[in-house]
């Protein structure tokens, strides 16, 4: 009789081990069926304007810290890029980037990123070149302004949990007007990041205080309420690849990300 109990226990243990170690499903969740803000606007609970202005006092307060590990990584990147002109992505970070011939993978928020070893991502330009266009400066190979002349227009839709485009092909020197609409039921954010900034995110993704730390980005539009939209003009000043994503907790992990790249610079996204 004891053998029966022992074997049942063994089998049960193995099943539990399999379920907890190997058969773990993806972190995902059904989005809410509707945003209740519409009803609250009718009742007067929240302002009727959908595209609300940003509160400057909260921005100026600088309450959000850059996590220590991120700060170290970003400092290292800046140091490398200023002391070694012409250095490419490969020597960028001891962190997560390894040179890989040919196409490489950019899997998920775990963040092991590999890039094409073309050496075309020139960090010297990315951090030290200042080219004013409108009210913003060139940073990370992108010039961003609120409006201006543009060659073509791209409309992006944000919803749970994806963007309408996963891949945007651009040419160096191109000016693009982005119009981003939040078509989902949850407030979302929109950010452009280059690869060093993305690698700094990997540490943050494991933290419980995601909302309490700074998400450094080349372009950032925080909190677009459901139904809201915004637009900006972006100039690609050099070859490269950039990620755009929603940086609310788990939105990016569940698929709200995409990439914009110049020809030959695209990464394989295993999603």
């Amino acid at each position: 009789m004891i053998k029966v109990f022992v074997s049942v226990g063994m089998i049960g243990g193995l099943v539990i081990a399999y379920l907890t170690v190997f058969a773990v499903g993806p972190i995902s969740q059904l989005p809410p069926p509707e945003s209740l803000l519409t009803g609250f606007r009718a009742k007067g609970f929240v302002p009727t304007v959908v595209n609300l202005e940003e509160d400057e006092t909260a921005e100026e307060a600088e309450v959000f810290e850059v996590p220590p590990q991120d700060a170290v990584m970003l400092k290292q990147i800046l140091k490398n890029s200023s002391s070694m002109p012409g250095m490419n992505m490969n020597s960028m970070g001891e962190a997560a980037m390894k040179p890989a011939p040919g196409a490489a993978k950019m899997p998920n928020a775990e963040g092991a990123m590999e890039m094409k070893a073309d050496g075309a991502m020139d960090m010297k330009k990315e951090t030290s070149t200042d080219m004013p266009m409108g009210d913003k400066m060139a940073e990370g190979g992108l010039l961003v302004a609120d409006n201006g002349n543009f060659d073509r227009e791209i409309k992006l839709t944000m919803a749970e949990w994806k963007f309408s485009a996963k891949q945007i092909d651009v040419k160096p020197g191109e000016r693009i007007k982005f119009t981003v609409v939040n078509d989902g039921q949850i407030p979302h954010e929109f950010m452009f990041m280059n690869m060093p900034l993305m690698s700094a995110v990997t540490y943050r993704a494991t933290r419980a205080d995601w909302n309490l730390v700074e998400h450094k980005a080349l372009f950032e539009k925080a909190l677009v309420l459901p139904g809201g939209d915004f637009s900006f003009v972006l100039k690609v000043t050099q070859p490269g690849t950039w990620m755009f994503m929603c940086m609310l907790p788990f939105h990016m992990q569940m698929g709200m990300m995409g990439q914009m790249s110049t020809p030959g610079m695209a990464m394989d996204m295993a999603m």
Partner: protein
């Protein structure tokens, strides 16, 4: 009477009584073990002992009632309250009215000028702030530990709570305390206290709308 722990009043008396009975009990146990001859006290002695115990229990009851009443009075003193539910009257007495939209996963704060801030609300020390909280999707919580306030926000409903901002400038946590999805643990925000204490507004009226 203040004891070695710096506690005085009924609490200290009760601690002293409890300690004496503990020591007495230990001594009696040791005596029962090591005394050669059994001690047989008279019945009167036993009755007296039980009577003493009952008296002490009654005394403890009276004291605890006094302590509890004093605690409640202290708690309900309006000048000592740092937070509470808003009863719908006397909104003009507040220095700041903030609309909060709780969503999956974060807080959006909308100030009186209809400006939006992400995961941070900036206030001045000692200000009285009214939070009007709505939920965008599911049941969320709203907890500010430093202000001792917790509220549950049901969908399709509005919760109104008020807090008195801490006098010390700094960053204080605001968090969700009702499980609301995979990002619940990361649904936090900052209550930022900075600047100088407001000169007006503190005596502008009663928070509870009685004045």
């Amino acid at each position: 009477m203040e004891n070695a722990l710096g506690i005085s009043g009924p609490q200290a008396i009760m601690m002293a009584v409890t300690a004496s009975f503990t020591v007495l009990g230990m001594v009696m146990l040791l005596a029962a073990i090591f005394m050669k001859k059994r001690w047989k006290p008279s019945y009167m002695f036993e009755f007296a002992f039980i009577g003493l115990m009952l008296g002490l229990v009654y005394y403890a009851d009276v004291l605890s009632f006094d302590t509890y009443t004093a605690y409640q009075e202290n708690l309900n003193a309006e000048e000592k309250m740092v937070s509470g539910n808003f009863v719908g009257k006397g909104e003009a007495a507040f220095d700041r009215v903030v609309t909060v939209v709780a969503f999956q996963w974060g807080f959006a704060f909308i100030n009186e000028d209809e400006q939006l801030s992400r995961n941070a609300v900036v206030v001045k020390p000692g200000e009285k702030i009214l939070f009007k909280i709505v939920s965008n999707d599911v049941i969320h919580g709203f907890n500010i530990p430093v202000a001792q306030i917790t509220a549950e926000i049901d969908p399709d409903d509005k919760r109104e709570v008020w807090i008195k901002a801490p006098d010390k400038p700094g960053k204080y946590l605001i968090q969700c305390v009702n499980y609301c999805g995979v990002g619940h643990s990361q649904m936090k925000a900052w209550l930022v206290v900075q600047g100088s204490t407001p000169t007006a507004g503190l005596d502008g009226g009663s928070i509870n709308g009685d004045a």
